[in-house]
């Protein structure tokens, strides 16, 4: 049942892969034709060789005229084979790399429109590995499949045909002994499988330990646990070595064994062929041709078993990428989606219900009305769910029921782009693109002038440190902001928003990466920026909270209290408690 399922899945994967290959059908047909040419001419060569040998009987019994003729044909055949082989390789590369490129493009395009829910719910490393490693593996498998599977099968069929046309009896010898080689190979593979599994289990365990301990080497050393950890490591290492030896050894028996069986085939052909030759059934040249077929015939068999595993692996990889490509995208925008313009900052949340998973309710019946220019402060303990609110406002996630409206328009009825352009967002996690500082700053307003950009950087207190960087605004920031300190990254993120200054702001006051003194300086900039703009602020600082028009107290993802500072103090609930524990000295 399970097997059938898997085969079913494999079939659908193959069908989908074929759809990708379809764009390259000309190359595919060409490649197949060339493969036929290659195989036929490759197989024809031993026959020609045999014919030459038959002209070399002994002293004085050599027909040079015929040999010359045959050699000429040989030359042509060789040239044709070589040309066909080369063209076939080029075609195969074209198909494979083209398909891979198309798949990657589709996968990436899908990533751009996947709902945040999917991206948040999957490990990024795993998604990256689908787009990069899986596709690569698939390419290898596909290429190998093209170059080896098809020609392999053709070679087997062709050899059989040629052999049969020369002598049936000897062909039977070859056909009967060859399966032994397959049998031996699969016998060994089965034995080896267990060892390989145990090896990879031990390897996984070891990698986990390495990951954990080396990743936190400083803690290990701080507590003087080096020896204990090494003991732990050695114990796994010993097991790994044990299984590894067996797995490596058993699997490496395969080659000699199949080679031995091939030797048997060769011998069989030699004996039977010689005996037949004595009886005059075949010539010596034909025998030599048979001998070289015996070599060629068994080789594809040995390769095909490898190719099939490789192909299965490739299909599994393809299935993983295709799964990503077919993933449900975010709700598409309605055809009549309006472009949100003339935003002054009216935001209303109407009976909003939201939860990430069905079994864990989060936001229930949440109502909020924000007037233009109002400040909404979100407070609460760490992990209180402030990101949830940001997710909903920016429409990274859609509400389960109820509605969020900007300027009275349901945000699901306007284009995502225009909604998001009206928000300026500074998050605590400071993400910058691996590009120059200029490109990062201009992200929200590519058409900004140099003066505007510098002014924004100045306002965010970023200009002075940018100027001191080796290439100023053209300094390339390493991946994930590598060379900059957390505080500097934060300043750049602020400058990025300062430049485009949209009518609504989402600010995550980042006390974690900027020290309080620097933050104070930025506060002024923030204050200027918030002037006349609707702002949602995740607040830690008392002054921000107190001056907010509305305070939302969140905990465990829910909004528990809502009101102004005074109102909430009078209510004497969660907020009042938090206020007393943190700020009342």
């Amino acid at each position: 049942m399970q097997n059938k399922d898997r085969r079913q899945r494999q079939r659908t994967t193959i069908r989908k892969v074929l759809l990708y290959i379809r764009n390259y059908w000309i190359f595919l047909i060409l490649s197949l034709l060339l493969a036929v040419v290659t195989v036929v001419s490759t197989l024809y060569l031993p026959i020609l060789t045999g014919q030459v040998i038959d002209q070399i009987l002994g002293p004085g019994q050599v027909d040079f005229a015929r040999i010359g003729g045959i050699l000429l044909v040989m030359g042509i055949v060789i040239a044709v084979t070589a040309l066909a082989q080369w063209l076939m390789n080029v075609c195969n590369n074209k198909i494979t790399y083209g398909v891979v490129r198309d798949i990657r493009r589709d996968a990436f395009a899908k990533i751009e429109i996947l709902p945040l829910k999917y991206i948040d719910g999957h490990s990024h490393g795993e998604l990256v590995s689908r787009v990069v490693a899986d596709v690569d593996q698939f390419a290898d498998g596909l290429l190998m499949g093209f170059t080896q599977l098809f020609t392999g099968v053709l070679t087997i069929v062709g050899t059989l045909g040629f052999m049969l046309s020369v002598h049936v009896g000897i062909t039977l010898v070859v056909v009967l002994i060859t399966p032994v080689s397959l049998f031996v190979a699969s016998f060994i593979a089965k034995r080896t499988y267990t060892m390989f599994r145990k090896q990879s289990e031990a390897r996984g365990e070891q990698t986990a330990l390495i990951d954990e301990m080396i990743g936190n080497q400083k803690v290990v050393q701080a507590f003087g646990q080096e020896e204990k950890v090494l003991r732990q490591f050695d114990e796994i290492n010993e097991r790994l070595t044990h299984f590894s030896l067996r797995a490596t050894f058993f699997s490496s028996i395969t080659n000699p064994s199949t080679r031995f069986v091939n030797g048997l085939v060769y011998t069989g052909v030699g004996v039977v062929g010689s005996l037949v030759a004595i009886g005059g059934g075949i010539t010596v040249g034909q025998l030599s041709c048979f001998l070289s077929y015996a070599n060629q015939y068994t080789k594809p068999f040995n390769e095909i078993s490898g190719v099939v595993t490789e192909l299965q692996n490739a299909l599994a990889c393809a299935a993983r990428v295709l799964e990503l490509i077919e993933e449900e995208p975010q709700t598409p925008e309605p055809a009549d989606a309006a472009v949100l313009t003339g935003v002054s900052g009216n935001v209303t949340l109407d009976q909003v219900y939201f939860s990430y998973t069905a079994d864990q309710k989060l936001i229930e019946d949440f109502n909020l009305k924000v007037e233009p220019g109002q400040r909404v402060a979100i407070v609460g303990p760490t992990g209180c769910g402030k990101t949830t609110l940001i997710n909903l406002l920016m429409r990274f996630y859609d509400v389960n029921s109820g509605r969020i409206a900007v300027e009275g328009k349901d945000i699901r009825k306007v284009t995502r782009g225009s909604l998001r352009e009206n928000y300026g967002m500074v998050l605590q996690e400071t993400w910058l693109k691996n590009a120059t500082i200029r490109e990062n700053l201009l992200m929200g307003k590519p058409e900004a002038t140099e003066e505007e950009m510098v002014a924004a950087a100045r306002a965010a207190h970023a200009h002075s440190f940018i100027r001191r960087l080796p290439k100023g605004y053209d300094t390339v920031i390493g991946e994930e902001g590598g060379s900059l300190s957390a505080g500097q990254r934060q300043l750049l993120c602020i400058a990025r928003v300062m430049l485009c200054l949209p009518p609504m702001l989402i600010l995550d006051e980042a006390t974690s990466s900027i020290d309080t003194r620097t933050e104070m300086k930025i506060q002024n900039a923030f204050a200027a920026m918030m002037q006349g703009r609707t702002s949602f602020i995740v607040a830690h600082r008392l002054s921000t909270i107190q001056s907010a028009d509305v305070i939302l107290y969140m905990q465990g993802g829910r909004v528990l209290e809502q009101g102004s500072h005074q109102q909430l103090l009078e209510k004497d609930g969660y907020y009042a408690k938090l206020y007393r524990s943190q700020f009342a000295v």
């Binding site: 040998i53 030896l245 490596t248 000699p256 080679r259 004996v271 030599s288 967002m425 993400w431 524990s581």
Partner: protein
């Protein structure tokens, strides 16, 4: 790579026997065409059936011997390769355990992890392949040539021409394509980079509505990659056809020469067949050799990377023993520059537990000093607060105490002795440190706590938990102390992890307790309770509290205010509020009542 070979030492026997048996196998393989030739020339020509059967038995015998030899070889080579890799892994892991923080910073954890896993695996399969094939393939190639010479000198000359020609083509194409493959890898990395960036920055990118541009830049990188792949593909695609042409041209030459020689009665028909067979053996082996070389180059590259980790030595030196004796005795006597200050200190005359003497620290490769001329002393029972902005050197300062790093100038003393004169292990056993990043390890809570002290009693564990305000964390778990911690402690919240790491540091009853911004995830109330409990510890450790919050350090006996690595203020909370501008600014950024506090204090 070469230096790694010492780990092969224990497998000397195996690494000689494996190739030896492989060569034996190859030798038997080389005999087969001769047997076939004999079959044709004697058996078929002489119509001698028993001879043919005899020869075929000989061939089977050769095959069996070959099989035995090669399985023996596979065993020895697997044993050597796997054993070598095991030893290498052990040594590398042990080596990393002994590196100092400075070296760990330069190398980086992710690099070390790759070195230890995939790189070593590559080296293992490289060694295995070398032992099995490196001698076999050339042996067959040259063996076939030698055999050809035993048959006929003139025909063998064709081999002499063909083999170098083939080698030039095979290795030439390889030499050209290997650097190109590196370029392909580089472009693949670009594709990977963009993908990763788009996942990590998904919120920002969508907030700025950049999806289209990102798709375009991915498309460009994707195109570059495909273009390069096709380019390299076209070059490597040449290899097979060209070798095919060379080997078959040689075959034609061989047939023609054979014809001439047979006609002259120098060669027999069977011998021509044997020569043809030798020719085809060569091609197979050359291709194997080329593949082998690719694997080996990869393995050598991996091996070199591993070796470069071995070459990183722990740069921390241990001062000579006698030097340490000196400091031990002179610690409390010879302290120029400190005599005057001693009078202000409450515990004058005592030996400070920790003392910094004009300490500076510059990280290797850094342009500017991280710490400059830090000078202070901490006496038993004292609490030292360290405050300053991001990057002011707070963590670096406390990291000097357990010798995570060594001062580049000046001295750090533990009870009057230069920390560099003490065995690192002993020194660290006196220190309980809680790092910024709260890390727990896979295992039970108890096992994690025992990192602090292997043989701690249940009471000691409980006491530490109580002090760290972590008792409720444990009590809240179903299995209490035996609750399983998943890797990295993911099943605990940040605050819970922080409290458990504090407990872990307390279990060993340290003489010096360092809290490196380790209450950041705690709310103010818990933080306050924690500070109080630590203040009441019976062993009166010296406590270093690193923080950005004045509330966390205001009770300290002495507060160091750091800015850009320099101490810009030292004193109690009130003193600093009065006269340290940086401290005032920090305080003002968190509270608004400085004037009031100062008035009240008067």
């Amino acid at each position: 790579m070469r230096k790694l070979l010492v780990y092969m030492k224990d497998y000397r026997k195996e690494s000689v026997l494996a190739p030896l048996f492989k060569m034996l196998e190859a030798a038997f393989e080389l005999l087969v065409p001769l047997v076939v030739a004999a079959m044709i020339d004697v058996g078929i020509a002489g119509q001698d059936k028993p001879y043919i059967l005899k020869m075929s038995l000989l061939m089977v015998a050769l095959g069996v011997i070959g099989l035995v030899c090669s399985i023996t070889a596979q065993y020895f080579s697997a044993k050597a390769a796997v054993g070598f890799a095991g030893k290498l892994r052990h040594s590398l892991f042990a080596h990393v355990q002994g590196l100092s923080f400075g070296e760990l910073d330069t190398l980086g954890a992710s690099t070390l992890i790759t070195r230890m896993t995939s790189d070593i695996n590559q080296v293992q399969s490289g060694v295995n392949l070398v032992l099995r094939l490196f001698l076999r393939s050339p042996f067959i190639v040259f063996g076939a040539m030698v055999m050809a010479f035993t048959i006929d000198f003139k025909a063998a000359l064709i081999f002499v021409v063909t083999i170098p020609l083939l080698s030039v083509v095979v290795f030439g194409i390889m030499l050209i394509s290997i650097p190109l493959y590196k370029k392909v890898q580089g472009r693949l990395d670009k594709v990977l980079g963009i993908t990763r960036e788009n996942l990590a920055g998904v919120r920002v990118l969508r907030a700025f509505h950049r999806e289209k541009q990102e798709e375009e830049s991915f498309e460009a990188a994707n195109y570059d990659l495909t273009h390069m792949q096709n380019f390299v593909g076209r070059i490597t695609a040449v290899m097979n056809p060209v070798t095919y042409v060379i080997i078959n041209s040689a075959l034609m030459a061989l047939l023609y020469t054979g014809a001439v020689r047979v006609d002259a009665g120098i060669l027999t028909q069977g011998q021509v067949v044997a020569l043809v067979n030798y020719m085809s053996q060569i091609l197979v082996e050359l291709v194997k050799l080329a593949n082998l070389i690719i694997t080996v180059t990869k393995a050598v590259a991996c091996g070199n990377r591993i070796q470069s980790v071995f070459e990183v030595e722990n740069s921390q030196e241990q001062l000579a023993a006698n030097a340490s004796q000196d400091t031990a005795f002179s610690g409390n006597v010879d302290r120029p520059g400190h005599a005057g200050r001693g009078q202000e200190l409450p515990l004058a005359g005592q030996i400070p537990v920790v003392e910094f003497r004009h300490v500076s620290l510059t990280y290797p490769g850094a342009g500017a000093a991280t710490l400059e001329d830090v000078d202070f002393a901490a006496y038993p029972g004292e609490t030292i607060g360290i405050i300053g902005g991001t990057g002011s050197g707070k963590s670096s300062l406390v990291h000097l105490i357990p010798r995570f790093y060594d001062a580049t100038d000046g001295q750090v003393l533990y009870r009057g002795r230069d920390v560099r004169s003490l065995p690192v292990k002993e020194l660290r056993s006196k220190v309980g440190i809680v790092l910024q990043k709260a890390v727990l390890f896979e295992g039970t809570i108890e096992e994690n706590l025992r990192w602090g002290k292997e043989d701690a009693t249940k009471e000691e564990l409980q006491a530490a938990l109580n002090t760290a305000q972590a008792a409720e964390v444990v009590a809240g778990k179903e299995d209490g102390l035996s609750e399983q911690v998943s890797q990295g402690g993911r099943n605990f919240s940040g605050g819970q992890r922080q409290r458990l790491t504090i407990a872990r540091a307390l279990v060993r009853k340290p003489e010096i307790l360092i809290l490196d911004d380790s209450a950041s995830a705690l709310d103010y109330a818990t933080d306050a309770r924690l500070r109080k409990a630590i203040g009441e510890l019976p062993d009166q450790p010296v406590v270093f509290v690193v923080s950005q919050r004045t509330s966390s350090i205001r009770q300290a006996d002495k507060i160091l205010v750091l800015e850009d690595g320099a101490v810009v203020g030292m004193g109690t909370h009130l003193e600093l509020l009065k006269n340290c501008q940086v401290y005032q600014e920090i305080y003002d950024s968190q509270y608004q009542d400085r004037m009031e506090v100062l008035r009240n204090a008067e």
